[in-house]
């Protein structure tokens, strides 16, 4: 049993200045389910892409079944017996199941001969692993759970012995996920090795034999699943970060400024991302929404700010209903006192090709104070931008510089300055310090507290648990689209971690 299916030695990979994988060592035993866990951006996907030949490592060796292999491209990976189920399925949507399975493994120039063989082989695989699918069904008409099964069959059809699954449950319902786990168990019983990439602790605990934890591009630990605990893994995943304590007085919550009632949001594929969420946000308090990325926080923010249409539910801003299920208009919401710092500043919060001063009015460009006759009052815009640059210490202090040329922290300050200086009633902030240098983090945190002390209602979403705990007056935990608990900021990290993992939520417990 101690034979190794995969051994990675000193894998190192950089993209420009981003060091995605640092000196990764990993041993995966044959016939086991091995979990790899870590937060978004920890480097899991990069590592798997190296293993599948999508990228080449800068340094390091890959050993498959004890043999050193050079995986230059996916072909080499397939030849080495590696199959991969990608997070975003690599399926041709208007092809049938059979066509997708054959693609790249057709065996002959003319399809007919191969089709008969593939059909027979598919039958055999279906039987062996209990993976029923209709070979003639068209992919786009199948539910995602079945589509995923096709991906697994694709790998098995190519005689994969090692199966990598990248965040496989992200798009699945809990029932579908359970079914997937049964399939994986079966694969293990048949002697296959499974590598499960996820950020969900519950899955790791439920199904893996061993688990390795990645954090910021490094492999920090490997544990036998039965000998570890969710608390330990959560701590390893998040790590103990040096966070400057934020000076913060007592909150003085006043009137309800934002009220969310039974909000449900689906994504473009029809998957429910926000599921019946309700909460109130009062003036003078910071409510933090904790949760592992991808549990509906993003969609919640987008629905409240009018960017994404909600399926059902209600939002009241200053007591006035917002048409979140219809034509809520972000511009209109701004005028009603809502400010929004979006999670993705590169594509949403900023136009990187704009000058700094142009980004300083994005969304507020309608304001008459920026207008002079028919034209924009460029002098006024630049003058105001300079004031904000000074107030927020944005560097370099040049309102005419292209936004792309600012560092991450300074870009974030551009967004914050724009949204905070508007004297909004409600401020919603997504990932305030993602990709921001330490110096700027402290500054941003202080500003957020100041906003609260000025009597603003602040809704904060962050995947950084420390940040949530340091800033929030109340913490809501989201898991699988639902608010699974509310805690005070002095709740322990372990307690919150369990909620975030969906282990101890009230509804989860009932299941």
């Amino acid at each position: 049993m101690s034979e190794l299916a995969i051994e990675l030695k000193g894998i190192d990979k950089s993209f420009g200045l981003v060091h995605a994988n640092r000196n990764i060592n990993l041993k995966v035993r044959k016939g086991t389910i091995h979990g790899i866990i870590g937060e978004n951006g920890a480097g899991k996907s990069t590592l798997m892409s190296i293993l599948y030949g999508f990228y080449q490592a800068d340094h390091g060796d890959i050993l498959i079944n004890g043999q050193k292999v050079n995986i230059r491209d996916p072909n080499a990976a397939i030849a080495a017996g590696i199959g991969m189920v990608h997070q975003h399925f690599m399926l041709v949507e208007n092809f049938t199941v059979l066509e997708n399975i054959m693609l790249g493994a057709e065996e002959s120039q003319i399809l007919n001969a191969g089709i008969t063989k593939a059909r027979a082989e598919l039958k055999r695989l279906e039987k062996e692993y209990a993976l029923e699918v209709d070979p003639d069904a068209v992919i786009e008409e199948l539910p995602v759970g079945i589509q995923q099964r096709v991906e697994i069959l694709k790998a098995l059809y190519r005689k994969a012995d090692i199966l990598i699954l990248d965040e496989p449950t992200g798009v699945l319902t809990p029932a579908e996920a359970d079914h997937l786990f049964r399939i994986l168990g079966q694969l293990k019983d048949q002697g296959k090795t499974v590598l499960l990439i996820t950020h969900k602790l519950r899955e790791i605990m439920a199904i893996t034999d061993e688990v390795s934890v990645m954090r910021r591009g490094e492999m920090v630990a490997t544990r036998t699943t039965s000998e570890t605990s969710v608390e330990e893994l959560a701590e390893l995943m998040v790590g103990r970060r040096v966070l400057l304590r934020v000076e913060k007085g007592e909150a003085k919550p006043a009137d309800v400024k934002l009220s969310v009632k039974n909000l449900t949001v689906r994504d473009s594929r029809g998957v429910t991302m926000v599921d019946d969420v309700s909460f109130d946000l009062r003036a003078g308090e910071i409510v933090g929404i904790a949760g592992v990325a991808g549990n509906g926080q993003s969609e919640l923010l987008e629905a409240i700010s009018g960017i994404r249409r909600a399926k059902s539910g209600m939002v009241l801003l200053n007591g006035r209903p917002v048409d979140v299920t219809g034509n809520a208009d972000p511009a209109e919401l701004r005028k009603c006192g809502l400010a929004h710092v979006p999670e993705d500043r590169h594509h949403v919060g900023l136009v990187l090709k704009f000058e700094e001063s142009e980004n300083a009015i994005l969304g507020y460009h309608d304001d008459p104070k920026y207008r002079k006759g028919f034209t924009l009052d460029i002098d006024a815009i630049r003058a105001e931008a300079e004031e904000k640059i000074a107030a927020y210490d944005i560097r370099p202090p040049n309102p005419r510089l292209k936004t792309a040329n600012f560092s991450g922290g300074n870009q974030q300050k551009i967004v914050l300055a724009r949204e905070m200086e508007r004297n909004p009633d409600v401020l919603i902030i997504g990932q305030p310090t993602r990709g921001v240098d330490v110096g700027a983090i402290e500054f941003i945190h202080r500003r957020i507290i100041e906003m609260r002390d000025q009597g603003k209602a602040v809704l904060l979403v962050s995947v950084e648990l420390d940040e949530i705990r340091a800033l929030s007056d109340r913490i809501l935990v989201m898991f699988a689209g639902r608010v699974v608990g509310e805690r005070a900021p002095d709740a322990t990290e372990g307690e919150l971690g369990l909620l975030m993992a969906g282990v101890e939520g009230p509804k989860e417990a009932a299941e």
Partner: protein, 377 residues
């Protein structure tokens, strides 16, 4: 990562790279001249001489420049909102209706300076109308604007053919054109402008619509960089997600942008109809709408780049006529080749020389190297 190439200083980005692309286009055109058995240098001499050798030549060059400024601006405005308007040709053609209607109705009663503004409005109106439909189809029905504008070029050709045949052609006339306008439908030449420089405009149809083109170029600059609408257009062109976040109405911007683009293309019709022929003829646009694509790509969609690019193509058109006179084996179709090559190298292959130029520039200039290093990947 998201920026595939290191950043170049502005002079390289907006000067060197377009120049290199242009140079390659001309080099290959020179090869064609060689294949034809003529001397590229001699051709170049005739080209320059034919475009600038005499006041009259310059007048012709600027006449063509006028046309290309309009169509170049039309393409550029749409580019800023992330739209590719290939329909300038048809929009200019249909814009002719507005000019012809104004002139036919008023040329005998009003002086040119009163007919002109009405004709401008008419040209812009019909051009805008013709661009609005593809814009609306893109905004509301998701029809690909490139394909619909191509289709609308052909539909415009048939429509205009019909109208010239059945509506505009005077009774008993054989050729497909309107009657010749009286004085009210004839724009004055800019001989006074030429005479400032001691030149005579001669027979060249260099007319007042050149000034309108310059005003339009300035207007486009104001629109794009100094108005709320332009700001919203650019936001959408750079990042549709950011536009949605900012509460910008995508459908509205698409339709308005296309109307402005079509209006500019339509205004091109003023130059040949009121400025040269004093009547509307069949196929008076003569590919100027497509030249606009080359001009916009060359000029980086900025009026300050479009005017010199239009001048370049004006020079090619006028100088090309001179070449074909002096060197009969090189007809004016040579320009179409150059135009195609400019579109190829300044457009589709614009990044081909970038890595090499980047290495060169960064290798040569320590300052640029520092910029690239601090910017990272």
């Amino acid at each position: 990562m998201s920026v595939p190439y290191a950043k170049l200083p502005a002079w390289a980005e907006y000067g060197l790279i377009p120049l290199v692309n242009l140079a390659v286009a001309f080099l290959i055109s020179g090869l064609v001249v060689l294949i034809v058995g003529e001397s590229p240098l001699e051709a170049a001499y005739h080209m320059i001489n034919g475009a600038f050798g005499r006041g009259e030549y310059i007048g012709f060059t600027l006449y063509y420049t006028t046309t290309f400024i309009f169509t170049g601006l039309a393409v550029a405005v749409a580019f800023h909102a992330g739209l590719f308007n290939i329909g300038g040709e048809g929009q200019a053609y249909v814009g002719g209706i507005g000019v012809a209607l104004a002139c036919l109705a008023l040329d005998r009663t009003l002086p040119w300076y009163l007919v002109f503004p009405i004709a401008i409005v008419g040209a812009a109106f019909f051009g805008a109308l013709w661009a609005m439909i593809p814009g609306w189809l893109q905004a509301k029905r998701g029809s690909h604007i490139v394909i619909t504008t191509i289709m609308f070029n052909f539909i415009a050709a048939s429509l205009m053919n019909y109208l010239l045949n059945k509506v505009f052609k005077p009774l008993g006339s054989m050729s497909l054109e309107t009657r010749t306008f009286d004085a009210g439908g004839q724009l004055p030449k800019l001989d006074w402008l030429m005479s400032i420089f001691g030149l005579s405009v001669g027979n060249a149809p260099f007319n007042i619509s050149f000034l309108l083109a310059l005003v339009a170029a300035f207007g486009v600059w104001v629109l794009i960089w100094r108005t709320k609408l332009g700001y919203e257009m650019r936001t959408m062109g750079h990042s549709p997600a950011a536009a949605r976040y900012a509460g910008i109405k995508e459908a509205k911007i698409i339709v308005i942008t296309m109307m402005i683009s079509g209006g500019l293309a339509g205004m091109m019709a003023l130059n040949p109809i009121m400025g040269e022929q004093f009547r509307m003829q069949l196929e008076f646009v003569q590919g100027a709408g497509f030249v606009g694509i080359a001009v916009a790509l060359m000029g980086r969609s900025h009026p300050a780049g479009i005017i010199p690019a239009a001048l370049l193509f004006g020079m090619l058109y006028q100088g090309g006529a001179e070449i074909s006179f002096e060197m009969p084996s090189i007809s004016r179709d040579m320009i179409v080749i150059i135009q195609g090559l400019v579109i190829l190298f300044a457009g589709a292959l614009e990044h081909m020389f970038r890595p090499a130029i980047t290495r060169l520039v960064i290798g040569l200039s320590p300052k640029a190297r520092d910029v690239a290093a601090t910017k990272g990947a």
